[in-house]
Structures are given as structure tokens and as C-alpha cells.
């Protein structure tokens, strides 16, 4: 959608609910995108750099989930 068509919520309740929904969507996207990258053979440091977070943070947040899903993970470098 072009920027000029993007609606701006007038009601604070709608604006605040949009924040909640965007955070949830961002979390869902992060889970899916990190898994997609790791399945494609990306390393933790590369995923961390792409997300702009430390590799410890990305490892802590996603490693258990991916290991239990059977994703073959590259060793941390």
C-alpha cells in the first residue's frame, strides 16, 4: 500500500491495539524468518547481525525451539 494511502488511526484505542498487533506479528515473523534462515544453513552470528541483536540473544530465544523441531544447526562461530 503506498504511504499516502496508509490510514492513521484517529482513536487512541485503535492506535494502541495496532501496536499490540504489530508486536505480535513481528514476533511471529521473527520465529518464521529465523527458522527459515537456520534451515537454509545460516549461522547464529549471521542471523543475529541481520536482526541487529547479539548472537547470544538470538541463540537464547530460538535454539531450544529449533533443536526440538529437529533443525540441523550450524555450530556457533
Amino acid at each position: 500500500m503506498p504511504a499516502e494511502e496508509t490510514p492513521v488511526p484517529k482513536d487512541p484505542a485503535d492506535a494502541l491495539a495496532a501496536v499490540v498487533a504489530l508486536r505480535r506479528l513481528a514476533d511471529q515473523l521473527e520465529d518464521a524468518a529465523v527458522e527459515q534462515a537456520m534451515r537454509a544453513g545460516w549461522s547464529w552470528p549471521d542471523v543475529a547481525e541481520a536482526l541487529g541483536v547479539t548472537r547470544q540473544a538470538v541463540h537464547k530465544k530460538h535454539s531450544k525451539r529449533l533443536i526440538s523441531a529437529g533443525v540441523t544447526l550450524r555450530r556457533r562461530q
Partner: protein, 160 residues
């Protein structure tokens, strides 16, 4: 443990499973509502069902609220087509701020621990015009005040 302790525990466990399915790090109020709707044999469950709010109907109402809130800032869920991420089935979501508030309101709706019943917890979830639960119910065309009145009515006449 008393019956209400068992019930609260079951709702937290059920809410945790809902949060896990959502990919949510915390159990929020709407996860508890789903758990209450899935737990049969209570007045709270009967009140929800009579209003057409089975677990699946609530899930759909929540999905609509999510899409509606995103559309307010020009974002469409349908435009993202990444595969469904894997979940860690061993992860135990923590109780989030909205769930904590709902419990506090539910406890406050009763006259004390001996009086506390599932319908009080439902009242605690419904007794706010702010947040995901009232927004989802409004979008589904549910009269929240009427639902609360029905829940209160059961408290006067039903033991559980």
C-alpha cells in the same frame, strides 16, 4: 487444593497451551478466555456457549481483531507468506499483565476465596473496555454488558 484452585490451575495450563499455539511468550487475557470456553461443566462455559462463544468462535473473533488492528495501520496479515514456525512444546509461557489484571478483577468480583467460582473469573475477563478481549467481542457483535449480566445471574443461582 479446593475445586477453584484446580479450576484456576486448569485455566492457566489451558491458557498456556493457547499462548504456545499463538507463539506468544506470555499467557494473556484472551488466552484465559479461550481456556474458559474450552473447559466444560461450569456456569462460565454455559454463559459463553449460550452467547455463541465456543472456543472456536472466540478464536475466530480474536483473529478478526488481529487483522482489524493491523489494518488500522495499513498492514495485512495475508501479505506475509512465511511458513508456520516450529514451537518448543516444553516452553512454559509466563502469566502476562492482562491475564494478571483479569484474575485480580475476578477475585475482586467475589466476596472471598470461598465464594470464588469460574463465573467470577469470566467477569474478571469481561470487566474492561480496553484491550484485545473487549475489542474482539465487539467486532463479533457480542454485547459485553449483557454477557456480564448473564454471568452475574448464574452466580446468584448456581453453585458452580
Amino acid at each position: 487444593m479446593s475445586a477453584i484452585d484446580h479450576y484456576i490451575n486448569a485455566i492457566i495450563v489451558g491458557g498456556g497451551a493457547e499462548a504456545l499455539e499463538d507463539g506468544s511468550a506470555a499467557i494473556e487475557a484472551h488466552h484465559l478466555l479461550l481456556a474458559i470456553a474450552a473447559h466444560e461443566g461450569t456456569a462460565a462455559h454455559r454463559v459463553l456457549l449460550a452467547a455463541g462463544l465456543g472456543r472456536q468462535a472466540i478464536r475466530e473473533a480474536l483473529d478478526r481483531e488481529f487483522e482489524h488492528s493491523l489494518s488500522a495501520v495499513g498492514v495485512s496479515v495475508a501479505s506475509f507468506d512465511l511458513p508456520e514456525p516450529s514451537r518448543d512444546p516444553k516452553r512454559a509461557p509466563k502469566i502476562g499483565a492482562s491475564a494478571r489484571l483479569a484474575f485480580e478483577r475476578g477475585f475482586a468480583a467475589s466476596t472471598g476465596k470461598k465464594d470464588l467460582r469460574p463465573a467470577h473469573l469470566l467477569l474478571g475477563l469481561l470487566d474492561t473496555h480496553i484491550g484485545t478481549v473487549p475489542r474482539a467481542l465487539a467486532l463479533a457483535g457480542v454485547d459485553r454488558a449483557d454477557l456480564m449480566a448473564r454471568a452475574r445471574e448464574t452466580l446468584a443461582h448456581e453453585s458452580w
